[in-house]
Subunit: 316 residues, 4 copies
């Protein structure tokens, strides 16, 4: 075990001790893992947990969870996306050098929050207060976040759990506005024979909504079933590291009665240090009943990034 890991475990231990001693919370979004923490519940993913997760692999089948990102991918609000393919300095078809090299390069001019994505802790806050007492004015710079940037996410290799909400609710595609709270989560677990959700797990909800992609993009982007507020708090109490779904908005839309604007995002990202994964394509995993698996993710480390376009690999 290297120094880095020892330190991480030590911090966790110290925090627990502090908790026992009843230390006061410095602000409403303070991290359990101390004032310098930028990774939240990812701290729970220890080598022991990673090692155990690799043993969940029994078939060697690897799934890519990313959907495609392009100009037609349904996207929230003003978000747009384009790539431009260029042949630098080869106008007229000129090739370069004795082996006649030709090459293409590509340029992105697009919003990151399109397609499959991870929300970093700089994405959503409460009245300009973000995770771990970080005020917007202190870390939000126009050319990148100076804290909570996506480059800080460590290597993710942990246990993944897929909750088949469509199966639990006896449908192919769960209706928009259906909130997943503790009862639904435990009901789905029981049906699938999943005995526990544990610290450091990545929990993915399967709703069947990927079936709409490219077929009814308007419906896909404007609403969906998803996690409710009580369910978010319940999963937070279990110490999960990340929560995802096969929908674009992740949380239930229309919002639950009395809920704020993307309040579940606030609960997870700002108040509990739990990353959110959107547009996770788990269609094939659901068909294969791949309920418990090794989940791996390395978001592109764009310095100061709010989010990242991702393509996690799940292995069963």
């Amino acid at each position: 075990m290297n120094i880095h890991l020892l330190l991480r475990v030590a911090v966790v231990a110290a925090v627990f001790t502090a908790g026992i001693q009843g230390q006061e919370k410095p602000c409403s979004t303070a991290s359990k893992f101390g004032p310098g923490d930028q990774i939240g519940n990812v701290n729970y993913i220890t080598p022991a947990k990673t090692l155990a997760a690799t043993r969940l692999v029994t078939k060697g089948k690897a799934y890519r969870l990313g959907i495609e990102t392009n100009k037609d991918t349904p996207a929230y609000g003003a978000r747009k996306f384009a790539i431009t393919v260029v042949q630098p300095d080869q106008a007229g078809g000129a090739s370069l050098g004795p082996s006649k090299t030709s090459y293409n390069d590509d340029i992105i001019t697009g919003w990151v929050g399109i397609g499959s994505q991870i929300d970093g802790f700089g994405h959503a806050g409460v009245d300009n207060l973000y995770f771990n007492c970080n005020k917007a004015a202190d870390f939000t710079r126009v050319d990148g976040l100076t804290k909570l940037g996506i480059e800080n996410v460590p290597a993710i290799a942990t246990r993944g759990v897929l909750l088949d909400m469509a199966g639990y609710l006896g449908t192919d595609m769960v209706k928009e506005g259906t909130a997943f709270n503790r009862a639904e989560i435990e009901g789905a677990m029981k049906r699938q024979g999943i005995t526990a959700i544990e610290k450091g797990d990545v929990v993915l909800f399967y709703t069947g909504w990927m079936k709409l992609l490219g077929k009814d993009n308007k419906r896909f982007i404007s609403a969906n079933p998803g996690l409710g507020r009580e369910g978010a708090k319940y999963l937070a109490s279990l110490g999960v590291a990340m929560i995802g779904s096969d929908t674009s908005n992740f949380e239930v839309i229309p919002f639950e009665s009395g809920a704020g604007f993307y309040e579940v995002h606030q609960i997870l990202l700002a108040q509990n240090g739990i990353h959110i994964l959107e547009n996770m394509n788990t269609e094939e995993m659901a068909r294969d009943q791949a309920w418990e698996f090794l989940f791996t993710l390395g978001p592109a480390r764009i310095t100061g990034g709010v989010q990242a376009i991702i393509n996690p690999i799940a292995i069963k």
Copy 2:
């Protein structure tokens, strides 16, 4: 085993049969895996191989191989990078809704080939002919490749092998211009006790060059040790799926005597269907002597992309 996997295995089998029957190559960049193939040697990564690779994990330590991408990351030629962080429609600090939601979004305006990256098969060709007989004029569109796009890369979970070229050459940092060919590859393997490089493996070269990053970016970008032409053909003959290094140019620079402009890129990408991984940070892995491991990679699936900014996860 699902239909998709069955088909892939069937294609591989068919191709072998074709090979035995001495079928003629339709063009100089034809794929072993048939006329429709877009993924090259990734075809060799079977479920059995993935399963076996997970058993290489003995400690549960996960490494992220990505370096950070930002405006200061050393980059080739005209490549530039910027992100812009915005607070959509919250001018003046306005928060949204009853739970006072604040949020940041981010926009990329940058070249993909900056930082840690995978080169897709649309990146380099020979006189406008790319992998598997694809002519530039046929698949290169200004708003995305219509074939060979990075979105086609399947889920990668396979055996990774780290070749410690610095250790083999008895130095902290291998000198620029040092070519790695068959002798050096086999020498390093022998020293590290690696008995074989196999079909579907990902081979990473460790040279110590990450030590320059942020310290001498000019040297880092302008030259490096790396794979030579003979070494590239040797690894191709072994059927590796991807080859990477901890340098920005990947192949040896200055080029070997008589070599073309980035000719090793041509040999791997165009002529052999082998992906290239650049700027893979393996410093910590080299220190840990993590020579054989589970390598996982899911590049963001940007439709028609030439390359992708990546952050593979290696697990030992």
Copy 3:
């Protein structure tokens, strides 16, 4: 008269002498104004011509000819446009300094060829040969043209002539596919009492097509009436500096029988050194019968730019 102007006149004189002596053309796109020329017929706009043009102003009414450029402006092919408005480092509504300064900035991520535009001489060529014997491979760089860039256009202040083709053809809006050739040009002139088109003039065609903008963008972008090949050669023979129209494609679409792909662009830009102005909104000028006027234009001087988004000012 300053050195710059003296030199320009001297070049013109030298060229005429050369012409008289029957000097051979070095290539099919050679400039009348010598091997170093990058501005073509703009050379004809002398101070005397500018001074005379100011005397065409009799009412003091100034017209802006630019239409709006935004994401919905009809645009050719893959062209897209976006602006992003940011409040740098003011997240949470923070103002700056004792006088509580707030500010917005804006970022463009868009193709230049959208909305009202001038085509530079690097825009269209014949088989990779552009104006004045410039080969694409020699001046086209991915980060900007090294010759023929839009930054080279001098200050434009000259006589403008509006040809009312709708009036001439007795219609509100000329039908798509209607070609303007010598007969139509002279017919319109005669009807409007315009006695001559002269060296250095800017000629604008009024067709009534702006009426479609925002109402039938699909029709607006896919075809239009416009200049034909013979008309282009006729105006070139008169030495006009620039030719524009109130349509998006400028030249007649569908193309004339036997014509090449945007061949009128080739004739003007590559073969005659005449700039093209697209989407010039002359609706109000046509209503006012402002046929002869002072035309002024200063395109934003983006180094190496192919085109520019413009908003010329016509004064009557």
Copy 4:
């Protein structure tokens, strides 16, 4: 005189009447020209004024005031600029159609506030209040301003006055931190024989600072001589439409003792409806002693734009 002009004059008249009657100001940035006004003192540019300005032209010499905008142009803060030149769908040198058409297009990915520019009224405010009582939250959208956008600027053709501050101060290049206030403005006018600055004029300050461009960009961007607060209020009292200078920051930097952060921007843009023009290259005009002239400007009409990259044409 058309309806539009009649209405504008009527509004001006009505506003004066209102002023006489002592009507209360609805907010600290209210326009003299009424609640719907978005163009401020540009209202003063009447046809009579434009006509008179054309008679200031005596030599026919036209000057372009724009400097070049590119990645090396000195720019404020996080501002960056790039263009990308592409040959859409011509990979491998393919030409299009029977006349072998080749073409380049260009894409901007850059901040607007680089190089010669006009500041729109959405650029600077006081504690999130912008010109004419517009609150940031009400009109600032991430994809464009919904009011005060640069597309609203009418055709500008008016009297221009160049104040030679370098000549007045007996130097080639005025020292940074030198404030131009009423005394300096009147002193320069007297020296140049300019009898009056009038309603609707465009006033440009010449300081000699363009000599630094490309030679000492660091000094050029970090400070400059320029308009002071009292001078700004004085010019506002005269009803000028726009004020510019040959520097990048326009106003005096370091700021005057006790002044806020870019407070002169606030005084002109927010409190007086006067546009600001930066990086106006008047070197040649100063050499020619072109003190009074016709000034024309048509900023590219990008919908919702905060600023515009410009290249005004001055004619003497």
